[in-house]
């Protein structure tokens, strides 16, 4: 547990970076600090491992005042991940990951064995171990950064915009894997981002800071979306917060319709049951895309990949209403494709049906109550 007690940071020139900040980051959970630039979120994070010293107040990690511990010793017990990874360019990946164990005097062989384990754990090819950071892409470097922070198995991790310098596809992947990793490891994490979507996706609780280092609201993501305390938070959380709140709304089973399908490589069917759109699946019944029978040319006799519309997203059975609605809205046929957790087709659902489910929740749900555990 990390506790901020009236922590302030004032610079000699009078600027106030953090003003009387009070909050608790509970053990085993992800606390996200989010806010516009200049809100003191990075300063707050860096005060935890004393990269910056507070001018007033105390920060306690498990009731131990951080300023009472030697800074280097303190930092060796805290995982630290930063935006551009900051890997040591002169060390191989495995030695980068083993950096903290080396500092702690761990036997080299043992440190490397542990590092190897972590390299695989963060989803990197073990063959990368002997390579150098400059040979890796930004996303891969960031994985190494996470592995390096985990190497000494610290109970606390500080992450300063770790995923903001990679492209959106990779970022999404890194976030998913980070959540998976955290569900195994249960670290106490303080995570800084300027991206409210990332905050809502990753946080067990989110602290919204406003410029000048004031805490505007500390709440679970669902609460933040449904009940922002003031104009600032509402504005920061964003316009389509109603839609995004559906991320935390689940309904048991979606009642799906059977969907007529055609297998990849099979002859093109002459007609479809409902309209011109027909769903194409592969041999394992995994949806591949939609086929528009009205657009076929005479030489289109068998179903091939280039004939498909791939724009639609998939909804997972048991997933969020947001996913279900998005699947409908993004599907060219208007029918959202629902799959089970293996990705095989279950059937389809329409936007009207999803909206019906959303409407039904309203009376009992004055607020969208959700917790981190409902997150997929």
């Amino acid at each position: 547990m990390i506790r901020f007690e009236s922590v302030s940071k004032r610079y000699p020139d009078g600027t106030v970076a953090v003003d009387e900040l009070d909050f608790v980051a509970p053990s085993g959970q992800i606390t996200v600090l989010v806010g516009p630039s200049g809100c003191g979120k990075t300063t707050s994070l860096r005060m935890i491992n004393r990269m910056i010293e507070p001018t007033a107040g105390r920060i306690l990690i498990d009731d131990q005042d951080v300023t009472k511990v030697d800074a280097a010793q303190l930092r060796r017990g805290i995982g630290y991940v930063i935006q551009h990874a900051g890997l040591f360019p002169h060390r191989t990946i495995i030695d980068n990951v083993a950096s903290v164990p080396y500092l702690l005097g761990t036997d080299k062989k043992q440190a490397r064995a542990r590092a190897m384990e972590l390299i695989e754990r963060v989803g990197l090819d073990p063959r990368f171990a002997k390579r150098y950071p400059s040979q890796l892409s930004g996303g891969q470097q960031q994985r190494v950064g996470v592995a390096r922070a985990l190497a000494a198995d610290p109970p606390v991790m500080l992450m300063d915009e770790p995923f903001s310098a990679v492209d959106p596809v990779v970022r999404d992947q890194l976030q998913d894997e980070f959540l998976r990793l955290q569900s195994d490891l249960g670290k106490t994490i303080v995570f800084v981002t300027h991206d409210i979507d990332e905050a809502i996706k990753l946080g067990d609780q989110v602290a919204v800071l406003r410029v000048g280092g004031h805490l505007a609201q500390l709440a679970t993501p669902a609460e933040l979306l449904s009940r922002p305390v003031d104009e600032f938070v509402a504005g920061f959380v964003g316009r389509d917060r109603g839609y995004r709140a559906l991320t935390f709304a689940t309904v048991g089973e979606l009642a799906v319709h059977d969907e007529q399908t055609v297998t990849m490589g099979a002859p093109v069917p002459s007609r479809a049951d409902l309209d011109n759109w027909i769903l194409v699946v592969d041999a394992a019944n995994v949806p591949q895309g939609w086929l528009n029978l009205a657009e076929l040319r005479p030489d289109h006799t068998t179903v091939t990949a280039e004939m498909l519309y791939r724009g639609g997203t998939l909804a997972t059975q048991g997933g969020s209403l947001r996913e279900a609605l998005d699947a409908c809205l993004s599907s060219p046929s208007g029918r959202g494709v629902v799959v089970d957790s293996d990705g095989t087709l279950l059937g389809s659902i329409t936007a009207a049906e999803v909206l019906g489910l959303i409407e039904k929740r309203r009376p009992g749900a004055a607020a969208v109550t959700g917790s981190g555990s409902e997150r997929r």
């Binding site: 630290y80 935006q83 890997l87 360019p89 090819d125 922070a149 494709v337 990705g343």
Partner: protein, 252 residues
């Protein structure tokens, strides 16, 4: 003319010492000695200084001051120092001449080593330094385990250019009654023995090239491949590309 230079260089008699003349081998050794000593002292002064200034960011004026030293006319300083120092030494020793020569060479070598070391440390990616501190390295560890190895390419380039300058300039030792390869150049000039003069120049150039080659080899085996980008041709498939295709497959 070129032929005569080769004849002069190839004559075994010129390589050996005689009662009256000092041969090429001995002068070459003397030249190497002057240079090695000056470079070693310059390195001992400039390397730690550059590292500390780069690490702390304090005392940057010293870098600028050292760079102004480059503007000093070497021969002028040599003569001045000799006039001041030499009279304090009597007898048959060279010390009175050796000290001014070494000072001039050291002063010549310091600026490039110092400013390159400083630039090397200062150019270390701030994120790398931040990560090093954030993981619990002490200031000394950050300097020795991160900043120094990351600065090596620039430090080497500074040291190599200092080496070339010192080897070339050490010929002025023979302006004073000292040995070194400059002896052949000055004597050749004085005696209108141009093959000897040019031969001396060729030897200086050859020595400089050999020294640079040796330093290149040392650099090659001390600087991390991660910094120089010399990797084996074998490439791994980029998993990022693979993941994009996975993502594409996932979206219908």
């Amino acid at each position: 003319m070129i032929g005569e230079v080769f004849t002069w260089l190839n004559d075994p008699a010129h390589w050996k010492d005689t009662r009256f003349d000092t041969g090429i081998a001995t002068q070459l050794a003397a030249h190497v000695r002057f240079c090695a000593f000056a470079l070693l002292v310059a390195l001992i002064i400039a390397l730690p200084l550059g590292l500390v200034i780069g690490h702390t960011g304090r005392g940057k004026w010293l870098i600028a001051a050292a760079n102004t030293l480059r503007a000093l006319p070497t021969v002028g300083v040599l003569v001045l120092l000799t006039v001041i120092i030499a009279p304090h030494f009597y007898g048959r020793t060279d010390t009175g001449y050796l000290i001014p020569t070494e000072i001039v060479l050291i002063v010549l070598a310091i600026p490039s080593i110092l400013s390159n070391t400083f630039a090397g440390v200062e150019n270390v990616d701030p994120a790398v330094r931040d990560a090093a501190e954030g993981m619990g390295m002490t200031g000394k560890q950050v300097l020795l385990k991160v900043e120094l190895p990351c600065s090596l390419p620039l430090i080497f380039s500074g040291f190599r250019s200092a080496t070339l300058q010192v080897i070339a300039t050490a010929t002025i030792a023979s302006y004073l009654p000292l040995g070194g390869l400059g002896r052949f150049i000055y004597d050749g000039l004085a005696q209108q023995d141009f093959p000897q003069m040019i031969g001396g120049g060729v030897l200086v150039a050859a020595l400089a090239l050999v020294a640079d080659l040796l330093l290149y080899l040392v650099q090659r085996y001390t600087v991390s491949r991660g910094l120089t980008g010399r990797f084996s041709k074998k490439r791994l498939p980029d998993p990022r590309l693979a993941s994009v295709t996975q993502a594409e497959v996932a979206a219908i």
